[in-house]
């Protein structure tokens, strides 16, 4: 029942999002004809042709339904600036963004989880204070400022990393994406550290951990096999926060490092008022956020027996 309710809410949200996205075309300055004409000269004939081609004289619900039908089949129309199908433009840019996001996620988990646990284990000590302060600072640094500082420090001054581009061969790409991934991962890792620490401290007060310690189990065993598994639940919730940080951060990081990914595509499309591309990206991003949050909700039900029984009992 809980599952059905969550599914319905997600579908409803997607519906609202798609209406707002379609509404962007009408909200853009100059009206839809001007937007769809792009930079071409606007004469009464071309305007009439555009109205005809895009069925702009139909009522809003009819136009919306047609647009949504096409969108669901993967057809978002033609990009105004490049004159290529929007889907092709996005497919072309996707690998860079996916690589960056994946790389940053690995860094986030590898650094964030142990650091959060270490801080909780040494609560109040030097290490804890250091980690807590660092994560607070990392959380408030804007990704674009960090990108510029990293770019200058490690690419220009020290020359360890390339300054621009995404690289061609797989190895080359890893080298090229290292600095951007660090810039993207810093804020995310800080979120994970703080949640992990809070979750672990919350758990430390639990009876079953006191009992495990009383049985004389080694500290490492107590933390890793007893605490970590339970701490995974709140960290799962953080998944939603991480995703938002990732989507937003990648826009800035790609722009700062001159990477041609989806984030840079969005910024370019917004600047050129290339509405079909903006619509496709907003719908894609929104759908990802909604689906991931749904999956997190469902994962909660699957992982935590308490949630499951509560749902069954209700």
């Amino acid at each position: 029942m809980a599952v059905v309710k969550r599914l319905c809410a997600a579908v409803l949200l997607l519906g609202v999002l798609s209406v707002l996205t379609y509404g962007l075309l009408a909200a853009a300055p100059g009206g839809p004809e001007q937007v769809l004409l792009g930079g071409r000269p606007s004469t009464p004939e071309t305007r009439a042709a555009i109205r005809e081609q895009y069925h702009l004289d139909d009522p809003f619900p009819v136009r919306y339904a047609r647009w949504l039908g096409d969108a669901l089949r993967g057809d978002f129309g033609t990009s105004i600036s490049s004159r290529e199908p929007v889907t092709a433009v996005i497919a072309d840019r996707l690998p860079v963004t996916a690589g960056l996001a994946g790389y940053a996620l690995v860094l986030t988990v590898v650094v964030g989880v142990p650091a959060g646990l270490a801080a909780a284990m040494r609560r109040g000590g030097r290490l804890d204070q250091g980690i807590t302060l660092t994560s607070l600072v990392a959380l408030s640094i804007p990704p674009f400022a960090l990108s510029i500082l990293l770019l200058y420090g490690f690419a220009v001054a020290l020359g360890w990393f390339p300054v621009f581009g995404a690289g061609d061969t797989p190895m080359d790409r890893i080298v090229h994406l290292t600095l951007p991934a660090i810039a993207l991962a810093t804020g995310q890792a800080a979120i994970v550290v703080r949640q992990m620490r809070a979750a672990a401290l919350d758990l430390a007060a639990q009876d079953f951990l006191t009992f495990a310690r009383a049985r004389g189990l080694p500290r490492r065993r107590v933390w890793v096999s007893y605490a970590l598994r339970n701490a995974a639940l709140p960290v799962l919730t953080v998944g939603g926060l991480l995703l938002a940080a990732n989507l937003t951060g990648s826009v800035f990081v790609e722009q700062a490092f001159g990477l041609h990914g989806l984030g840079a595509l969005l910024v370019g499309a917004v600047g050129q008022k290339d509405i079909p591309v903006v619509q496709a990206l907003v719908l894609l991003g929104g759908a990802i956020v909604i689906v991931v949050n749904l999956l997190i909700d469902l994962a909660y039900v699957a992982v935590d027996p308490r949630v499951r029984h509560k749902a069954a009992a209700a």
Partner: protein
């Protein structure tokens, strides 16, 4: 530590108020023959590719970089504190309505909404500030509401109700001082979020005409000069970072000391 943080923020405030007056040069004055050069006695932070003095542009940009976020923080705090107290104390349909709205706003990736709305619809900083207040408020409402829920059941709140005090008096005179540490922390966090978001928007070239002396825009415009005069891009990036970090850390500390010592 606190002294350092307060000094940093006071310096920033001075720059925001008197920045254009303190600037050694006209921030828009070009010296094309000079071009982009590194720091010297005449130009402490060097010049950009049009020969404009970087320090002067930083000082001139401090006002808009810091005042707008203060406005966002004030609006967000007033709205979220009032609505949060109302939802948590009155409950009922007000609460339900506000919480559903909060769920919706929290599910949105706010920054992307800002980029698209401000970028497509246009309208500059005014719109951005309004959109930010709308996007930041729901999260804070939720926090204040949950604190109010806990406070309203305590003995002092019950005593105030027994005395027959008006709900508005109970909310603002009795409950508010007890949630004040969170309100202060939220205000500083909203300021940081707005500072970073506005600088981010202008970094992406959204919302401001090119050439405006603005910290975010300077980072972007001078990004290509990292080899000629790195300060032109690094100094604004570092300033944004330092102010954001100082405000966050101060908020953290203020929250801790206020919740320990109470507000007296």
């Amino acid at each position: 530590m606190r002294a350092i943080l307060l000094t940093v923020l006071s310096l920033a405030a001075v720059a925001a108020v008197a920045g254009s007056w303190l600037a050694p040069y006209d921030p828009a004055a070009q010296d094309l023959a000079l071009g982009a050069v590194g720091p010297s006695a005449a130009h402490w932070l060097g010049t950009d590719d049009l020969g404009r003095d970087v320090l002067s542009r930083l000082l001139a940009g401090a006002g808009s970089a810091l005042m707008w976020p203060v406005l966002v923080a004030v609006c967000t705090t007033l709205l979220s504190t009032t609505l949060g107290l109302l939802a948590g104390y009155r409950l009922g349909w007000v609460d339900t309505l506000l919480m559903r709205a909060a769920d919706l706003a929290i599910a949105l990736p706010g920054m992307l909404v800002l980029i698209v709305v401000v970028g497509v619809v246009g309208g500059g900083y005014g719109w951005a500030v309004l959109a930010m207040a709308v996007l930041f408020t729901p999260g804070d409402i939720r926090v204040i509401r949950s604190l109010t829920l806990a406070q309203r059941e305590l003995a002092y709140a019950e005593a105030a109700r027994t005395l027959g005090l008006r709900p508005s008096r109970i909310m603002f005179r009795h409950l508010l001082p007890n949630v004040a540490p969170t309100v202060v922390a939220n205000t500083l966090l909203s300021f940081v979020a707005a500072l970073v978001a506005l600088a981010g928007l202008s970094f992406l070239g959204v919302g401001l005409p090119a050439g405006t002396p603005d910290w975010g825009l300077m980072v972007e415009e001078n990004r290509g000069l990292l080899d000629l005069n790195p300060w032109a891009s690094i100094a604004p990036a570092a300033l944004i970072t330092v102010v954001a970090c100082a405000a966050t850390l101060l908020g953290d500390r203020a929250f801790e000391s206020l919740s320990k010592g109470g507000l007296r």
